[in-house]
Symmetry: none
Subunit: 207 residues, 4 copies
DNA sequence: GATGAATGAGGTTTCATTCAT
DNA sequence: AATGAATGAAACCTCATTCAT
């Protein structure tokens, strides 16, 4: 993603910034925002603390940059997956796969993301919450659109509002992933996306 | 709930304790654990700080007491609802209703509960997390049991592992409630439990 | 020492006071003045804290009462010993014996006494120091008087000012006792008073 | 004593450290360990409190550094004096002179030293006491060695165990110095070392 | 531009003392 | 008279942030 066209000086700065963010993510996700000091981040990233403050105005700013940047990456991967030309059922499968993939590639980030997107915010002076929620809602709408089209196409029965279906699917994936993160042996993650999708695709009650 | 038989002095102490916990809950849920000082809690509850420390050994102790006490209440209400003698479908309806009810009665507490039970832990010296997770898993198993019996009774088709179904149902309820909490007008909460349950009860794909 | 003539109520109060002082002595000598709380003293002595404050205006007052009372006892015993009718050499032997005896009977008190009488005061807001030093100087003068009479009687050679001799004898006894207190096996205390006295009685250099 | 070869930055740090220690010594010796706050030390030394904590991990650490550093200086001076090549009598004179000298140069420190080495400990979590006592015992053994050699040389009569003689001499010097410190006019310090030594050198009783 | 020493506000916690019961 | 719950000043210590080098 780092643009090769940038002058060397700029590229170097970007690399440093990434290093700082990576270290911060590592520490924040291990110990929690309030239990990590700027000193600690600077030391672990092998920069002077003053340099850290050249890149980020303050601790909160660093945290916001970190979360937003990763959210972008997160959402981008997922959006890319569902924008492939395929039928609605395959799109949903891709969605489940992409979310799972991203989740597993970013384990350290997940707790932070969940915290922010699910309401248990660290209560930074607002501003971050809103930004993240907006993105979350947008992604829900993308999924809702898939359901809507599937219903219009009569590939899906209209068992519920498409937005509701999107909320349900998204939250069920998150729930499985969180359980698996907590205790992988107790909660093996269903590798086949249909294991999750069937919960929605098949009717519980015989009809 | 406060026992009328207790000596007056004891009743008074209990009342004070409840007041402290209520104030702490209020502040913690508004601003987050680390952004609330003991001083602040004491002042808002109109006690001297020393008095606060007579009731709770330290800040973490206060926090743990708060979360555990409310979790108990939380889980109790829900368990009570599903232990009524009724068929499985009605039990699930009761579960949705009870969870919704409890959630709405304890709005300030929900963020804390979500934080603890869903992974965005405040990284208190562990111990609390574990306790809460254990209870969360137990409640999942109660719901799983309802699905299992329903399947055995052939009232439900076995579209997924009962534990998976429990995870899915629980997380979908939480998701709707959180969205509603975030933005009530944008996300009106489905008052009829079947709105949620139908997502599971009906099959999406025509069969 | 408690006067049997006092009305019962008064006697009872005196007994309580002694109990408080004894408990305080115990705790102070074990943990040091600043590491003992009034709460702790009250609890260990099985009185309410308010009662403690009925007997002593404040913590410092309690401490002063404790030290002064014990100093009195301390000095009284020693004075009594040297006031017996006996020759000067025997008086000095009695002095060594009495000091040793008192010291051993009051081990818990010794550190406090030494602290106060030797200069390493706890720096209570003065007042105590002075009182104790005055008594210490008085006792030195009593010993000096013995040396002076011995010299006048020509039982002692005038190898030094009598007051100096008193200082020397007193400090040497203290030194031996402290070493013995620190490490009894390494520093066995000389049981025979002459072991100490001979350091003064015999000339080191042949004459 | 500060090494001129050190880089400027290092020298500066050492100077600051000395300043902090000097201020702390001043306050501790005037008011006692527990009656001096870190805030107070920082203010008097004209540093921010955070800076104080950069140099010393906590209050106890500062105190230990202070006492141990001065004890070293203390013992070094005395050891140097008695290691000069001279006969035993002259060595003892040097000892008395050196101790007197060191004592007078370090008046503010003496109370602390006495407190720690003579038993009226502030009850810091042990460890310090032990360290100091060990050094005190070592110094006693050096003096005892002088007496032992003098006795072997037949320059001294064996009036007592050499270790006892060392204890006695050491304690007598301390006693005179403390009295002089308390009330200089009342207790003029004997400038000639023989005034003290004669107490040991001459026999009290005619022989 | 990078550095990291210095800052000091603010957090948690203790404990001497008071006073209503 | 005795009690001990309540008080709040003040202690220790951390850490986000600045700024001279």
């Amino acid at each position: 993603m780092t643009d090769q066209k940038l002058p060397r000086r700029e590229r170097e700065k970007l690399r440093q910034r990434q290093e700082m963010l990576a270290t911060a993510l590592d520490l924040f996700s291990q110990k929690g925002y309030h239990n990590v000091s700027m000193q600690e981040i600077a030391e672990k990233a092998e920069f002077a603390i003053g340099t850290l403050y050249k890149f980020f105005q303050n601790k909160e700013d660093l945290y916001k940059a970190l979360v937003l940047e990763l959210c972008d990456e997160f959402e981008d991967s997922i959006m890319q997956a569902i924008e492939q030309p395929q039928d609605e059922i395959e799109k949903l499968r891709s969605y489940v796969r992409a979310k799972t993939e991203v989740f597993r590639r970013n384990l350290p980030f997940i707790r932070l993301y969940m915290a922010e997107s699910r309401g248990a915010s660290f209560n930074l002076k607002a501003g971050l919450d809103d930004e993240i929620r907006k993105r979350y809602y947008l992604s829900l709408e993308s999924i809702a659109a898939i359901f809507a089209i599937g219903i219009k196409n009569q590939r899906f029965k209209k068992i519920a509002d498409p937005y509701y279906l999107a909320v349900a699917l998204s939250s069920v994936i998150d729930a499985f992933l969180l359980l698996w993160l907590d205790a992988p042996e107790r909660h093996p993650y269903p590798e086949d996306p249909d294991t999750i999708l069937n919960i929605f695709f098949k009717g519980l009650i015989d009809s």
